[in-house]
């Protein structure tokens, strides 16, 4: 599995490399072409001046010389009266110069336009795909309103994500297919992901949980459930957290309609901000009052110890390593 993942990595790396070298070569070619045209004009002007002054013993200006070069290599073919080279050497120089000009201009255009078209076609083939994150990312199974909301928030938080669905838009990192297939979630680099969010129907979410759990033990699987039986089955299929979607919405509307404060404080969209902090290092063995937690972070409302919730702990409460403090962040910290 590791080898396969490595291969995928190498493949995508080489794809990027191809695009890069192509773009690089094209840029170089353009620079080379411009330089060649410049030196072509320089050679023509110099030749013109030398022949005109030293062979034909005429007077000549720099403008005449540059005009001669440009009119020749562009095959314009019109020269102001009395500015043509009339000597034998001059005519031979003119012929040679026209040939050189044609070779460089037409040859140059061809070598530039060619790869440019090639690149355009290759880019269109690959479809300017957003790359799939490879490490510490979140896999979102199913593209719907929930996925849109979550993707937007994850983007804001700077957490990489990939959507697995056949209908995800191209500007979103995505993998085509279904999360119930091992090959598909492997394409989403499931072995290196931190979490998987299943947003499909109960049956599929149960299948997704089973599939993902069968290949990795560490993955944090979060799934939504629409029915109560589905909630239980998805949990048994290996999901770490099951979000009972209809129950939550039902409770929210119930608390709102009955004027319960639970709505304003814990359920509404503008609900209380609640954060958590794990006790470790220096905090271990200290009393809450010694930490000045209120000033530094916010108001403590509960502490989780060994899976048990202790609400509203007293200031004399002594913290142990591994305790999780649930608190309301103070405004100072937020701003």
């Amino acid at each position: 599995m590791e080898i396969k993942l490595h291969q995928i990595k190498e493949k995508s790396k080489s794809m990027i490399l191809i695009g890069y070298t192509m773009a690089f070569a094209l840029r170089n070619r353009i620079i080379l072409f411009v330089l060649m045209v410049f030196s072509l004009i320089l050679i023509g002007s110099l030749g013109y001046l030398i022949i005109r002054i030293y062979v034909e013993h005429h007077s000549a200006t720099l403008t005449d010389a540059i005009y001669f070069s440009v009119a020749t290599i562009s095959t314009l073919g019109y020269y102001p009266p009395n500015s043509m080279l009339t000597s034998e050497v001059g005519k031979w120089f003119h012929i040679f110069y026209l040939g050189l000009g044609l070779a460089i201009i037409f040859g140059g255009i061809q070598t530039i336009i060619g790869p440019w078209f090639e690149m355009k076609i290759k880019m269109a083939e690959r479809g300017w795909r957003v790359p799939i994150p490879k490490d510490a990312h979140v896999i979102i199974c199913g593209y719907n309103e929930f996925a849109l909301y979550i993707a937007e928030k994850l983007k804001m938080l700077g957490i990489p994500y990939v959507v697995v669905d056949n209908h995800a838009p191209d500007d979103m990192p995505h993998v085509e297919g279904d999360c119930t297939e091992i090959s598909t979630i492997k394409k989403a680099n499931v072995l290196r992901a931190t979490a998987l969010i299943a947003l499909m129907d109960d049956m599929k979410n149960a299948m997704i949980s089973l599939t993902a759990r069968s290949i990795t033990e560490d993955l944090n699987i979060i799934a939504i459930a629409t029915t109560e039986s589905g909630e239980e089955i998805i949990k048994k299929s290996g999901a770490n957290t099951v979000i009972p979607r209809n129950k939550i919405i039902g409770k929210t509307i119930q608390y709102w309609s009955s004027g319960d404060y639970k709505y304003d404080i814990f359920a509404s969209v503008e609900r209380l901000k609640i954060s958590e902090k794990m006790v470790k290092g220096k905090m271990t063995g200290k009393k809450i009052s010694e930490l000045r937690f209120r000033e530094k972070y916010g108001t403590i409302i509960a502490i989780y110890r060994n899976g048990k919730m202790i609400t509203d702990p007293s200031p004399n409460f002594t913290l142990k390593s591994g305790d999780v403090i649930i608190y309301l962040p103070s405004e100072v910290e937020a701003s």
């Binding site: 909301y149 939504i224 629409t226 939550i248 309609s257 202790i310 649930i326």
Partner: protein, 189 residues
């Protein structure tokens, strides 16, 4: 309370249901389409205080909101919406509160992803009977005193919010001065 739509979301609510999904009409179950003004009237829309619109279809919900608002300008309308783009339309149609499914559930998923223990706590507040919120009208002797200069913390607990008039002050700072009519809100497990 009138509830339009009998489904997984609404089935545990207490009120008069309007839907066509049940076979026979019984107490608190009215058979019919809530888009029909006659049905809404029969459910008592003109006298009720609250109506919940949750048929599962955004267009239907918005239409019913419009209808209910026309039939009773004072009724409290709560609507459940699926698509975010329909939120404004629902408010314009006269809803008092619009709950967006993707917002509520998406936020729940993100909380359990980013701070799982906080999510657990919110969960137990939402679903458990033994975790509760207590509201207490401000005892007069604390009037005009700063929160930190009272013994409320020691005697009752941490004030997590204060309801003042229509507003709710969340996580009040210790400097907050208590006013007449304030309702202190506590959290107790």
């Amino acid at each position: 309370m009138i509830i339009c739509g009998y489904n997984e979301i609404t089935k545990k609510l207490n009120g008069k249901f309007i839907d066509t999904s049940f076979d026979e009409e019984k107490e608190n179950f009215i058979w019919g389409n809530p888009e029909d003004p006659e049905i809404l009237k029969r459910a008592g829309v003109e006298d009720e205080e609250i109506i919940i619109v949750a048929t599962g279809d955004d267009n239907r919900n918005i239409y019913i909101t419009l209808l209910a608002r026309t039939l009773n300008p004072w009724i409290n309308i709560g609507v459940i919406i699926k698509k975010h783009e329909n939120v404004d339309k629902a408010y314009k149609a006269g809803a008092n509160n619009v709950l967006v499914e993707s917002e509520l559930i998406g936020r729940e998923i993100l909380t359990s992803l980013l701070s799982p223990k906080a999510a657990e706590l919110i969960n137990s507040v939402m679903f458990s009977e033994n975790v509760n919120i207590y509201a207490l009208e401000l005892p007069l002797r604390y009037l005009n005193r700063k929160l930190k200069n009272t013994d409320i913390r020691r005697r009752v607990g941490t004030v997590i919010a204060i309801k003042r008039g229509k507003d709710i002050i969340k996580n009040p700072s210790p400097e907050t001065v208590l006013k007449k009519g304030d309702i202190l809100i506590f959290f107790k497990g």
